[in-house]
Symmetry: C2
Subunit: 346 residues, 2 copies
């Protein structure tokens, strides 16, 4: 089994995607990996494993690597005599933020018939937007943090009590997020968020809340990670998250009751099935008085949350063998033919 790791992208999280991909090189010990880089101009490059160092990308050296074109069936490189298919069994989508999480990569893979591990188009859109995540979770009976949604053109009348947290609806890695403790700082924080997105989510900021992360997927069976209680400062800013994305060794299990563990696992499964089939996601939950509250779905978690699994590599391989298949739609021109016949033209 060989796996292609797709990373980079036209995204604010381009750089942490590179860090995530480099981490994969350490984590996959016996699987053949192909590294495919998508640069800021949306050109694909085949990257030699020995070049998987962050400097290779920041310096622009990657431009000397083989350019790839995406077509039916896969990625191709030009040769003297024609072109060469880059061979792999499954592609692991590791592009964080735009391109990777907004449904573009899923669309391209689906359109060109490439096996891939990633949320499908719909699941991407659901989890890329903090608003749709909430709407969908509520529909499934999962509790979410109280919120208010504002468009850029909406009147700035806030119904949430201070302190509050303002988040651009569609960005990850805490980009554009502000904690606002008093009204005087509200306008500025909204301006910052609206610079990045045309829609924001406002939530009460709850000091010292208990947070638990759980990742997993459904291959031929449920594969759930350990539950981690992430250490956090006020909240992880971009710099800290950046370092966080290079984690490659298993972390300690949170010290929680069996009952709470089960509640978190059940919530994860309810969210995952069937919308997230084919992907490895991480759900971040808050817990207040034993109530499980969904904070966020990470559709392409940093370094794929590998550090939460006992044997990440083999889980990926099992998932690769149980990916959802696109429904085959047969087009037989029945209607056109019957209408042509009715008109006496057939």
């Amino acid at each position: 089994m060989s796996v292609a790791v797709l990373f980079g992208g036209s995204s604010y999280e381009h750089e942490i995607s590179i860090v995530s991909a480099i981490t994969m090189k350490k984590v996959f010990k016996s699987t053949d990996l192909e590294f495919i880089f998508l640069d800021a101009n949306r050109e694909f490059y085949s990257i030699d494993s020995s070049d998987m160092k962050s400097k290779f990308f920041s310096s622009g050296d990657y431009k000397k690597a083989k350019r790839l074109s995406l077509k039916s069936g896969g990625f191709y490189s030009k040769t003297f005599f024609g072109e060469n298919l880059i061979e792999f069994d499954t592609l692991l989508n590791l592009i964080h933020g735009r391109d990777g999480e907004d449904g573009k990569v899923a669309s391209l893979m689906e359109f060109y018939g490439i096996n891939y591990i990633s949320p499908r188009i719909e699941a991407s859109n659901l989890s890329y937007s903090k608003l749709y995540t909430k709407l969908f979770a509520k529909e499934l009976g999962i509790e979410v943090v109280e919120y208010q949604h504002l468009f850029k053109h909406s009147p700035r009348v806030i119904n949430i009590k201070y302190p509050l947290i303002i988040k651009p609806t569609r960005l990850g890695s805490s980009i554009g997020v502000s904690i606002v403790r008093e009204k005087a700082h509200l306008e500025y924080a909204l301006d910052v968020a609206f610079e990045l997105d045309d829609s924001v989510i406002i939530e009460p900021f709850i000091e010292g809340i208990k947070e638990y992360n759980l990742a997993g997927c459904k291959s031929n069976t449920w594969e759930l990670s350990i539950i981690e209680e992430p250490q956090k400062d006020e909240f992880l800013d971009f710099d800290k998250k950046y370092m966080d994305f290079s984690r490659d060794s298993q972390v300690a299990k949170a010290d929680i009751s069996l009952e709470l563990t089960k509640k978190l696992q059940e919530s994860f499964k309810t969210i995952y099935e069937p919308i997230f089939y084919g992907s490895i996601i991480r759900c971040d939950f808050f817990v207040i008085d034993e109530r499980v509250i969904l904070n966020e779905i990470n559709p392409i978690p940093g370094s794929m949350a590998n550090y939460l699994f006992e044997d990440f590599e083999n889980m990926v391989l099992r998932l690769a063998n149980s990916l959802p298949k696109e429904k085959n739609i047969k087009i037989d021109y029945k209607y056109i033919n019957s209408i042509s016949q009715a008109k006496g033209k057939a």
Copy 2:
């Protein structure tokens, strides 16, 4: 100004997309049109205007047309000396159902930097799913028809009173839709819908309900169509809708009060802005006791609902001049550089 019409697709509505595209040929009177066909195998073809007849596609003759490849900047055809860019200013996405409405076409256009008229990726996903349409509309304060959502794996316990209507969550053109008048027929109707989708929406079937359709877009200003009261039998089945997709002359205005007209227009605008920027959509509303209830959003309406507009052609051209632009994300490798420096490697 020249417009490319993209049609076909790997979709149950492939054939009606052909009908829609042929209708465009009649509707656009002074604009250069390029026809680009996406066949069931997801190959693109450049179709000569004189070949825009349904038989050309059903017979397979289209395979003799020029094959196109999609790359950065547009569609290219092979020549003896290299390749030729198919020139147009804007692409009109006319693929109904899968590929066109599920976010794939939007993703491809966005990824390869092609100007296009169509719902963006997120708006596609919202309107492609009858469930997300409802969740989103409710969030915006728009009333929707009472419903129950079932996954294929959910227990079949129905809380809606008979008669009810069962719809696959993600298909258009009434495909897989059943009206169920008594419990004895429920299981079969659910089986039919679950053959086509892994999720269904169940609603009460309301006999003789008033329905009104309104289409439009926001170019540099609001462009709203007349409001039509569609004639309907019990509900339009696929055959009737198929014929309906070839309409090309303006229909009569519904005979409703100014007050109701305004309510429908305000509901349309609330749904449209800003999520549907760049697209021409049709919203189908029910009206009960002067209450406006959203039934459906048609993100790529049949023949683009041209028959609802006084001057469809010029509206398309105005919209083409006010399409949303993708945000430019500058990637400067600031984090990688600062970390390399901290490590003393720079």
